[in-house]
């Protein structure tokens, strides 16, 4: 897909006429393109008028059912937005109260820019919500740590990890798009400096790594010519210390 094409997608996006894969791709673009997000907001108001124009009162019984259901439905906690997220390293040294967990998740995502919360408040994106919940759960661990590094060629990698949980979440943001045939691959480096594959990733992916965290000292990223090689064949584009 060429660049001018991407900006054309505001129309189909607002009309919910994009297939799932293209929608996800466009939402990633939206996070970085202020002209598209402004246009989406305006076109959405126009589409809303089309919706309003076909209003029809629902059967009266529906109201009672809805009101009965909300009486037993808990509201989501608000997202606590930190206007000036602290540097991640400082965050890493603090313990987190349950109350600030969502704020931290939002801050971590804002730092990593990995989409999710900020991309599109309208999308009831279960995948994103699940990721945010996983991130929040991880950040709420008393031993949670966050580390961040620049990636050669552009972009950042953020690792949120808990040794106690033996889990890590890797958030990639703004890595260079790779030519066809090349992929990013994630690695965990152990104390003997051996690299263990943690799977392939796209330039803006969020990856959950379960297990094998405790004895690792760094996250590595390479650009591989073959997806899923057993050992790195290239010099790391990033090596983020995890200890």
């Amino acid at each position: 897909m060429t660049t001018p094409d991407v900006h054309m997608l505001t129309g189909p996006y607002v009309l919910n006429a994009l297939p799932e894969d293209e929608r996800i791709g466009f939402e990633a673009h939206l996070a970085d393109c202020s002209s598209c997000s402004a246009e989406v907001a305006e076109l959405r108001e126009a589409a809303t008028k089309l919706g309003t124009a076909v209003a029809v009162p629902p059967p009266p019984a529906l109201k009672a059912r809805v009101l009965a259901e909300i009486a037993t439905t808990r509201q989501l906690p608000p997202l606590v937005r930190d206007p000036e997220p602290r540097p991640v390293d400082e965050l890493a040294q603090r313990r987190y109260s349950r109350r600030s967990v969502f704020g931290l998740a939002a801050a971590a995502l804002a730092v990593a820019g990995a989409g999710g919360i900020a991309v599109d408040q309208y999308r009831d994106n279960q995948r994103t919500e699940r990721q945010n919940e996983q991130l929040a759960a991880l950040l709420s661990q008393p031993d949670a740590k966050t580390a961040r590094g620049e990636v050669a060629g552009g972009g950042q990698a953020t690792v949120v990890m808990s040794a106690g949980q033996d889990r890590a979440i890797v958030l990639l943001h703004g890595l260079a798009k790779l030519p066809d045939g090349k992929t990013y691959q994630l690695w965990l480096q152990d104390r003997s400096e051996a690299m263990h594959s943690a799977g392939i990733a796209g330039p803006d992916d969020t990856k959950l790594i379960q297990g094998g965290i405790t004895d690792k000292i760094a996250l590595g990223i390479t650009v591989e010519n073959t997806p899923g090689v057993p050992a790195p064949t290239q010099a790391p584009a990033a090596l983020v210390p995890m200890v």
């Binding site: 094409d5 054309m8 997608l9 505001t10 129309g11 189909p12 607002v14 009309l15 919910n16 006429a17 994009l18 297939p19 402004a38 907001a41 305006e42 076109l43 959405r44 108001e45 126009a46 589409a47 809303t48 008028k49 089309l50 919706g51 309003t52 124009a53 076909v54 209003a55 029809v56 009162p57 629902p58 059967p59 529906l62 109201k63 059912r65 809805v66 009101l67 259901e69 909300i70 009486a71 439905t73 808990r74 509201q75 989501l76 906690p77 608000p78 997202l79 408040q121 309208y122 999308r123 009831d124």
Partner: protein, 201 residues
């Protein structure tokens, strides 16, 4: 779809509640757990939500079910609504439209749908706004602005929005190139925006 007497008897769309309460004020109260405010918001929004969902889904029982889901979701996620990013009406109707579309797409795999669309020998009639209640100024304005679009713009926009078709399906129905349909959806909506004088906030 014809307008029932029942719907004629009810005043809609209600822009403000009896006390002049706007959707934005109600949303702020709903976010703080105020169920009376939610009841008022329901009265204002449910006709739009139900009307739009029914236009897309057709099936009345399903439409009621999805309307209920959406209105409960409005309650549940009101705490996450951000007024800087769009009006409450837009937020709620966007949610309604997405739920309706999700329902349409989950019921038939996309390949089934594309085959069915390809096999359709005639262009299915799409409901124009003109079928809806016409006494309202806002509706008149929408109809007027839709008529100001080119035929391809209008059909691209309405088949997607009211028909629930993907842009690929719309291209199939209108026998046009994918890139053309994507562009007509965008420039059609831009024209509609300019004609209706709406802004993003």
């Amino acid at each position: 779809m014809s307008v029932t007497e029942e719907s004629m008897a009810l005043p809609w769309p209600v822009v403000t509640g009896p006390g002049g309460t706007t959707p934005a004020e109600l949303m702020a109260r709903v976010a703080r757990g105020d169920s009376d405010a939610f009841t008022q918001l329901y009265d204002q929004m449910a006709p739009r939500v139900f009307g739009l969902i029914r236009r897309v889904l057709r099936n009345p029982a399903q439409s009621e079910e999805v309307t209920q889901e959406v209105m409960v979701e409005v309650w549940r996620t009101a705490t996450r609504y951000d007024a800087d990013r769009g009006s409450p009406t837009s937020w709620i109707l966007t949610m309604a439209h997405r739920r309706a579309i999700d329902r349409v797409r989950s019921e038939q795999s996309s390949s089934d749908r594309e085959q069915a669309v390809a096999a359709a020998s005639t262009t299915p009639a799409y409901d124009e706004v003109s079928e809806a209640v016409t006494t309202n100024l806002e509706v008149e304005q929408v109809r007027h602005c839709l008529s100001a679009l080119t035929e391809l713009q209008r059909e691209s926009v309405t088949l997607a929005y009211y028909g629930g078709y993907s842009y690929r399906e719309v291209a199939e129905l209108l026998d046009a190139k994918l890139a053309t349909i994507k562009a007509r959806m965008r420039d059609g909506l831009i024209r509609l925006r300019d004609c209706l004088g709406v802004t993003g906030k």
